[in-house]
Symmetry: C2
Subunit: 254 residues, 2 copies
């Protein structure tokens, strides 16, 4: 009997930011194929004997190549297993979920996708930053820092009413800033970097396009981080005293 | 004693696509302030005697103005209630959550935000459309159809590697298409419209920029709907036979 594969979005990290559907599938899974990002402490909630395969970390820290991940999913499902492919964030927001769907479909494996909470929205929120806000930001442009910077991204960065969200972009930040300034984006454009969003050691750095590279370097900003460019990123813009004092707004429930 | 307000993202509709945190807060709520979109059948899961206020629908179908919603949240919390403001999708993606946060903070009410699954990502996924896909789409531009079409949105529409997602855009579609064509966006650019995503009567219409207005008019496409413009919207692009036949991929779990 053929098994099945469910690509499950695990959200930004805290296990209670997974969906009820994700929990149910995890509780029934024979095999869980996990990532480096996303919820990492689901093991106590799996059924006894469930196999856990961590493809984000290997001895020597080499991640498993995508085609090997695809092969693992297909092989386990062919062996009749219920496989959950647990991904950080949402499977289709830079999660390479599409490739895993294609591999399963090509192999005749039943596959479904369960959306998850994307860090592109939830990590700024954890720092009190709404990616849209009436009268301030009416569009959101989401890019991966490891991609080329294209004219559409430069247009988003330049437009006052757009929030640009850059995932995994700390390494590319100097190049991104240089390109943006050269393209005429105002140097005073607000920038915030939220590291380890939704985790206990979350840290937010607020600056401007002109100053963010120096500020981030001085502070030692590192991935995983979400970079937000736009007026919503301004310290205290929404809530003058409270936001900047890190009180009064809190994305963690008590 | 002052109560509190939690702005909770309810996701695209199915109650099992709410987060565990959302469920826990709903189960403890004294007051639930609900929207027209998002999960609507949470009542059986609330504690006995919980007050439910539906601000999306009134006799006569006039939605409650935002400042009245803000006042309801503040007043109930001042009366010591635990208030859940349940919103469709994510509170900060065109959800006006930022305004509600500001109102609570200004009134000295403790407020927290619980992110939800945004329809901008989850509704295309329900139709088998990944908003990003390696080699096809490396950025996502999300806009509200009721906003002005800006140069950044036109740049996103024109760029092959960008997926543009338009929420609540059926009414604005003719204007959007005319503006895009005038700006030089290729008429053969793929467009998909997903109505009532994640509901039993979900329907996907696939077309091109040149033909979508006629196709949508003929079929009677209506909001709530998510419009996707970009190569990922092409029927059968990812999975030649199966996607277009609506089989092999399914965002609903069995």
């Amino acid at each position: 009997m053929t098994g099945r594969v469910d690509l499950v979005g695990g959200g930004p990290g805290p296990i209670d930011l997974m969906t009820v559907r994700a929990w149910r599938l995890l509780a029934q899974a024979d095999v869980v194929v996990m990532d480096r990002l996303g919820p990492t402490d689901v093991r106590p909630h799996l059924q006894p004997g469930a196999e856990v395969i961590d493809v984000g970390k290997l001895p020597g820290h080499h991640p498993v190549p995508q085609d090997e991940i695809n092969a693992i999913l297909v092989d386990r499902a062919r062996a009749g297993k219920r496989v959950v492919r647990l991904k950080g964030g949402d499977p289709f927001v830079f999660g390479r979920g599409g490739e895993e769907v294609v591999a399963c479909v090509a192999a005749g494996i039943p596959v479904a996708v369960v959306p998850g909470i994307t860090s592109a929205v939830a990590v700024p929120a954890a720092a009190g930053i709404p990616v849209t806000h009436r009268g301030v930001a009416s569009a959101v442009h989401i890019v991966n820092g490891q991609s080329e910077i294209t004219p559409a991204t430069l247009a988003a960065l330049a437009e006052e009413s757009v929030t640009t969200v850059i995932l995994m972009g700390v390494g590319a930040l100097p190049r991104l800033v240089a390109d943006a300034l050269r393209a005429g984006v105002p140097p005073e454009r607000p920038v915030a970097i939220v590291e380890r969003g939704h985790h206990a050691d979350q840290r937010t750095t607020r600056s401007t396009l002109a100053a963010i590279v120096i500020d981030a370097g001085r502070i030692g900003v590192r991935n995983p981080a979400v970079i937000v460019v736009g007026d919503v990123a301004r310290a205290g813009m929404l809530v003058p005293d409270l936001l900047s004092a890190r009180s009064g707004i809190d994305s963690r429930t008590p």
